[in-house]
């Protein structure tokens, strides 16, 4: 996304809330420009009674840049647990004494059945996710075969994968096999990442994101809100994501996992979650913002409001180690909101 120079005067801290939002509206909708980090911080400080106005602006920006449609997708774990990394929110790390037992690689027939079930719900994205630092040769063979099988047998879904840190050769091989998109989350703001993980660096993650783009795949990168970062760091994070110009940004909200260092972490409040979604939309107006893990727990009855605050994609069904709410509940919510579900953009 191009960063157009700000033509409006920088918002002063003392500006009225309505004025701050009006300037953001003009910048994004009339000038097709971008808000600055300073402006985003001011918007973030708007009082709670301005939240619906912020959400409304974010929704209009979403519709203007991305259209009315909602993209549905599902995820599946290609290998659960046994991960050597120590991301301290994750129940799949071997470092922590969690209840998640490691599995082998998912059998191809089980994966294919899940892809077909996904397609039957009307979803168009299917992402296969492995709990690993990165792929070795054997795992690469499994991933490439999974991509081939789904592409050949379920043409109404696009295949994405998430296999950790990559080399450029591995990224190229996945692109050549037909992986439409690669997910690799930055997870947290750069300034907070060393409190989250010690076995790899934020820069390692960013480098993999750059390789994904160089390989020609769509980049899916987002993170988890509620890892102990400050409100200001959430804005920092959104701008760090925006720098990568991702096609898709999954927004997870921490669902604390027993046995992990963040197992007792306080949940993000629903209103703070809505505020964060809206700000991410204003900062990344053209990205696909996807509801991901933790939305049921964090947002509860405000899940519909998130769809009116900038979200335009959803993971439906279950997650990697926990269940989601039923897909029918999501479809009913979209029907109530009169939001159309998008069909696949191209049949592979």
């Amino acid at each position: 996304m191009s960063q157009q120079p700000a033509s409006s005067t920088l918002v002063e801290p003392a500006a009225e809330p309505a004025e701050i939002l009006r300037i953001a509206e003009r910048r994004l909708l009339e000038e097709r420009g971008r808000i600055t980090q300073e402006e985003a911080l001011l918007i973030q400080q708007l009082p709670d009674d301005q939240l619906t106005h912020l959400a409304d602006l974010a929704h209009r920006v979403r519709v203007d840049y991305c259209g009315e449609e909602i993209s549905l997708g599902s995820i599946i774990s290609g290998k659960t647990g046994g991960c050597p990394e120590d991301c301290n929110f994750c129940s799949q790390s071997t470092t922590f004494g969690t209840e998640v037992a490691p599995t082998g690689l998912i059998p191809y027939d089980q994966l294919l059945a899940a892809a077909k079930a996904t397609a039957e719900t009307g979803a168009t994205e299917f992402c296969i996710i492995y709990a690993v630092r990165g792929p070795d040769e054997r795992l690469m063979e499994h991933v490439l075969e999974c991509v081939r099988l789904v592409r050949e047998n379920v043409p109404t879904v696009e295949v994405a994968c998430s296999v950790g840190l990559l080399t450029q050769d591995q990224a190229d091989a996945m692109a050549a096999a037909g992986a439409h998109r690669y997910n690799h989350n930055l997870e947290a703001p750069r300034s907070h990442f060393d409190k989250i993980c010690s076995t790899h660096k934020w820069e390692d993650r960013r480098r993999t994101c750059e390789m994904v783009k160089a390989a020609g795949m769509e980049l899916c990168t987002g993170g988890i809100i509620g890892l102990g970062e400050t409100s200001e760091q959430r804005i920092e994070f959104a701008f760090q994501l925006a720098e990568l110009e991702p096609d898709e940004v999954p927004m997870n909200f921490l669902n604390p996992r027993a046995g992990t260092p963040l197992g007792e972490q306080e949940l993000v409040s629903p209103t703070e979650a809505i505020r964060t979604i809206a700000l991410f939309r204003l900062i990344m107006p053209a990205a696909k913002l996807r509801y991901a893990g933790g939305r049921e727990v964090t947002l509860g009855d405000l899940q519909a409001m998130g769809l009116k605050s900038g979200i335009n994609a959803m993971i439906t069904g279950n997650y990697l180690t926990t269940l989601g709410r039923g897909v029918n509940d999501d479809l009913l919510m979209l029907d109530d909101l009169q939001m159309p579900i998008n069909a696949i953009s191209k049949v592979m």
Binding site: T80, E99, T121, L267, T298, L323
Partner: protein, 66 residues
């Protein structure tokens, strides 16, 4: 700066959110032997089994009858 916790969020609401969380968990321990279950969560449903119990069942099946 808005407070992290909603001003209207009391203990009851927090408990309700935790109840939502609990409802989305899957059983992780074998009810028979207490070992960790191997769980494969699928987009729609999940499968689980207890490897020690499976091994035990195979062993007992292969033993000659008394």
């Amino acid at each position: 700066m808005p407070d992290e916790q909603s001003q209207v969020t009391g203990d009851g609401v927090r408990d309700e959110r935790l109840a939502v969380r609990d409802a989305l968990e899957v059983e992780r321990r074998c009810p028979d032997c207490g070992a960790k279950l191997t769980v494969q969560i699928l987009p729609h449903g999940y499968e689980s089994h207890c490897t020690p119990c499976q091994r035990r069942a195979r062993f007992e099946k292969s033993e000659p009858g008394e």
